[in-house]
């Protein structure tokens, strides 16, 4: 049979360049942002600042990877922030030093570090399974399911937090072996040391990348988000996979909550409040499609870094925090508008 396909000609440089721009716009924006801030104050480029930004965004990266996985399935998870808060309070409540005057559990013996870390992780994972189960088996829309979960988790956390003798006092006096995870580092003290919390975020990112790209679990996730019906017809167990993805995300929120407690040396029931919105914003700026099927780990990381640079950098050069809010809002909507224009221009 003859080949009737038209042979494409080599596109000119301007077309190639524009295409490259469209594909990599987010990284270009990031570079310009850093240049712009540095132009105001060249001291911004100190290694110490970058180290601070990385420490600040580490937990945000972990939350955004979970939220991103759910966006890729075509869902959304509003419960991320409150699960972070619950995990932070749970771990902190079990990790106070024996000498501390207002302990959550006055008679609790010194537990091996792993137990107070694992308990909140497992509870967060279970909450993820509940989210996924309701969405997959009862067909309640993800927005509604996770909205309900948000409120319920905050309620549960507040009841726990209010237990006597704590009675809603901020939990403090955490054990140094625990806070060391959030504030310690490898190497000589200084700007070039490697904080543990950054290392953890990098490891989680690598694991997530492998999961998304090298495993059947990841392929199924992209397929379900791209066309759920086709995925089902292809013999993918859509329900089970969805539950797995929500459980994975839940575990990541739990980990982020524990790390937040370790980093800040304490916890209250308001920890993590509205982190889910920051995570979703970072994901969409990083090219994750809210209609599902599209999104990458490097893109999500770039999205989180952009917000990290904005938060830290704009404060560094003294931009009014209210203006920072406006700039962030413009970037969220602008990034998505640009992304959509990219797909529509193909006509």
């Amino acid at each position: 049979m003859q080949n009737t396909q038209a042979t494409p000609t080599q596109p000119p440089f301007s077309v190639t360049a524009r295409k490259w721009m469209a594909e990599n716009a987010i990284y270009v924006v990031l570079v310009f942002l850093i240049i712009g801030i540095a132009a105001q104050d060249i001291n911004f480029l100190s290694p110490n600042n970058f180290r601070n930004i990385l420490i600040n965004i580490s937990t945000r990266v972990i939350i955004a990877l979970g939220a991103g996985a759910i966006l890729i399935t075509g869902g959304v998870d509003l419960s991320a922030g409150r699960i972070v808060g619950l995990a932070a309070v749970l771990s902190a409540s079990m990790l106070q030093t024996p000498e501390y005057s207002r302990r959550f559990f006055p008679d609790l013996p010194q537990l091996p570090l792993i137990i107070p870390i694992l308990i909140p992780l497992i509870i967060s994972l279970i909450l993820g399974i509940v989210n996924g189960g309701i969405i997959a088996r009862l067909n309640v829309p993800p927005f509604i399911t996770t909205l309900g979960m948000t409120v319920i988790v905050y309620g549960m956390n507040s009841i726990y937090f209010d237990l006597p003798p704590n009675s809603s006092q901020p939990i403090g006096g955490l054990r140094p072996d625990f806070t060391n995870i959030g504030t310690g580092f490898i190497g000589p003290n200084g700007p070039f040391s490697l904080p543990y919390i950054v290392i953890i975020a990098v490891i989680v990112s690598v694991i997530t990348w492998v999961l998304f790209n090298q495993t059947t679990f990841g392929k199924n996730m992209y397929a379900i988000g791209g066309n759920r019906e086709a995925a089902k017809v292809s013999g993918i167990n859509v329900g089970l996979n969805l539950i797995g993805i929500y459980a994975f995300a839940g575990a990541l929120y739990g980990l982020a909550g524990v790390l937040e407690a370790a980093r800040t040396g304490g916890a209250t029931n308001n920890y993590g409040n509205s982190y889910e919105l920051d995570a979703i914003a970072a994901c969409v700026v990083g090219g994750v499609s809210t209609s599902g099927g599209i999104g990458t780990v490097p893109g999500i990381l770039a999205g989180v870094v952009i917000f990290g640079v904005i938060n830290y950098g704009l404060t560094f050069i003294g931009v009014n925090p209210y203006w920072q809010q406006i700039i962030k809002g413009v970037i969220i909507v602008g990034a998505v508008a640009f992304d959509i224009a990219k797909y529509h221009r193909k006509k």
């Binding site: 003859q2 494409p8 495993t215 059947t216 397929a223 791209g226 066309n227 017809v233 292809s234 013999g235």
Partner: protein, 506 residues
Amino acid sequence: MTQNNKEYMLEMLHISKSFPGVKALDDVTLRVRPGTVHALMGENGAGKSTLMKCLFGLYTPDTGEIYLNGQAIQFDNPRQALDAGISMIHQELHPIPHRNVMENMWLGRYPQRKFGPISLVDHAKMFADTKKLMDDLQMEINPKTRVGELSVSHIQSMEIAKAVSYNSKIIIMDEPTSSLTETEVAHLFRIINGLRAKGVSIIYISHKMEEILQISDDVTIMRDGKHVGTWLAKELTIDLIINRMVGRDLTHRFPPKNNVPAQTLMKVDKLTSTFPKSFKNVSFELRRGEVLGIGGLVGAQRTELVEAIFGLRSVASGTITINDQPVTIHSPVDAKRHKIALLTEERRVSGIIPTMSVHDNTIIANLKKYSNRFGFINYALCRKDVDENIARLRVKTPTVKTLIANLSGGNQQKVLLARWLLTEPDVLILDEPTRGIDVGAKFEIYSLIFELANMGKAVIVISSEMPELLGVSDRILVMSMGQAAGILNRQDADQEKIMRLATQFV
């Protein structure tokens, strides 16, 4: 510039249109006489849709002129085209299902009533206008029915009525019969004849040769973005059309068939749906090396039957046995385990995953084979199988990394076939496998069906095209209103017998 001949209602002269890297239209000319049905034919990718989008204001041609009644025109958007009397009925209909017929018809131009400074929608006038239009066109559609409750055929009638309501002089119909039954096609043709008698010109895009020869006055054939020629329909035959469309001799529409049915593989016994209006008491046997056709009118529950066999729909009673072993199939996961594959009817709805590449779309149903017990995928193995199958099925794609959404319908269908072939099924169910794809790709899909039968696989083909059903099947199961009306052997079957069985319980 009104020197043009009044003999033509529409003239599109020397139209060219390029997209980055591809010349989609190259000096194409189309002349449509008033009060005629003008068929526009060509393989997928020949440029028919692009030409019509240039006319309808969706694309701007790079060069060329368009004259409507001798007046030079150039539309920037479909609204201008509609106002000038050109309407288009798309292949895929997109009505608003939750609103009723009349609101869909007058969408964006509701009749208004003034109450002082306030204008409100005039529902009474809208109803009366719609009713009159439906009566004029002899359509039996209640203007107040929710569109979601209408059949595809009725939705299409509604779209035609909508076109007429714009006082259209030219109506473009893109594959209007692709989801219609034969009786519905006859009804559509009556409507078309009525419009033609009123002086309306119809540009009719279709792959179905019999219909083209039956309904059209003139036929324009395109190939690879070029104008091959325009002929009077009565001067043409199916072989001539095919020859000019593909630019090569294709003396037969079907490849040689020499598969030999062997022992029984699957038995379906008294299968009954949980829904009373769906299929009931359907029994048939399927042999290795056999192609079993399933015919029937739309609404005969053929798709529902095969989707139930595949575990996508629930079954109240009845049994399925494979190799004399009773099997229970509650989901596609079960079906795959029993080596059944299903190519669904709606390619876009339940076939392709548009956000994924050709490569990923090919392997997605078969990930177990390509991964170890921890779920890690062996991409080298995938790539080898994908490359082999893409070559074997002659999928035309720039690379396997290209998004499947960028391929033509025929090539998408081949990728989906490759997806299922990789699962190495014993039973392959194909639901309308050639719908909306071009002659060349159809021939290749028929060849593949026969090749699979020769390999000892059992193939079920659902088709609404009688010649196709008769061309590919060894036996034909004809369904009527959810029941098996009869099974015909290839040598005894003809269109008339199939039609008689298909209408048995109607």
